[in-house]
Amino acid sequence: MKITVSINIGGIAFYIDEDAYSELKRYLRSLEFHFAKEESSAEIMADIETRIAELLKARIGDYKQVVTISDVHEVISILGTPEDISDEQNGGGYERMASTSYHRIYRDPDERIIGGVCSGMAAYWRIDPWIVRVIFIVLSLPGGLGILIYVILWIVLPEARTTAQKIEMKGDPVNIHNIKDSVKEEFENVKKNMKI
């Protein structure tokens, strides 16, 4: 047995499962955010809600009286996520920026033990930072050469401060999707740390 919510969308009333309601609400908010920069964004949202109501109405009947989460997923796949829409609106433009992405060595301030030199180089090669640290330690044993190299690199390599630089450090293309994902990831990490 589930809890249902009554909603009114596009002027039509529906019963909708609680989880489907949350998903639909999240989807509508994401669309609202996407269209916020358009003039008449309210009108666009109203038209979309009308269409969603049409699509949902077609899936409801005597035997199925409640909108479920699979209905909402179906609607989202028909109308498109904000990413799908902006890809079509821009003709896949975001992906084209990727061909001019840089891939360079930065010092990684988030994963550092001393100066972020080893973690930065590890990010560039996409290997575990400890591999690089062990190499430096081994190089330091005979006469401290590793320490010298480390200090030189510490001075020479820039720190990855902005989100875009952190993405370049890993060699991923810098575009809105990746920046958004990076920020989300960092947000989740902060949230996790605060809960503990």
Partner: protein, 108 residues
């Protein structure tokens, strides 16, 4: 370079033209426009249509009236304005010219 992106760019370029063309044939509802565009495979997700429709209406190319419906709330019924018809005629000409250009280029 990605062929899918180039193709998407091509489709994006003709979408506004297609919308005007569909409405000129027969005044219609947004859902009719969507079905025609999907049949012709010019649009993949429906969400792309709505900002374009609104922009065209705001530019005076389209107008709509509310039509009552037995199944629910009233729906927008779109048609081209005179300005929209002129605009479409211009785009028709432009399209024909493009087709000619491509023909010339493809001739080896």
């Amino acid at each position: 370079m990605n062929v899918e992106n180039t193709k998407a760019q091509m489709r994006k370029g003709i979408l506004e033209y297609c919308i005007l063309s569909v409405i000129s044939g027969n005044s219609c509802y947004a859902s009719d426009i969507i079905n025609r565009l999907k049949e012709a495979r010019v649009i993949v997700v429906e969400g792309t249509l709505y900002p374009l429709l609104t922009r065209q209406k705001n530019a005076g190319l389209l107008s709509y009236r509310w039509e009552e419906s037995q199944q629910g709330p009233p729906r927008k019924y779109y048609e081209l304005t005179d300005q929209g018809r002129e605009y479409l005629a211009d785009l028709d000409k432009s399209w024909d010219e493009l087709v000619e250009s491509i023909k010339l280029i493809r001739k080896k």
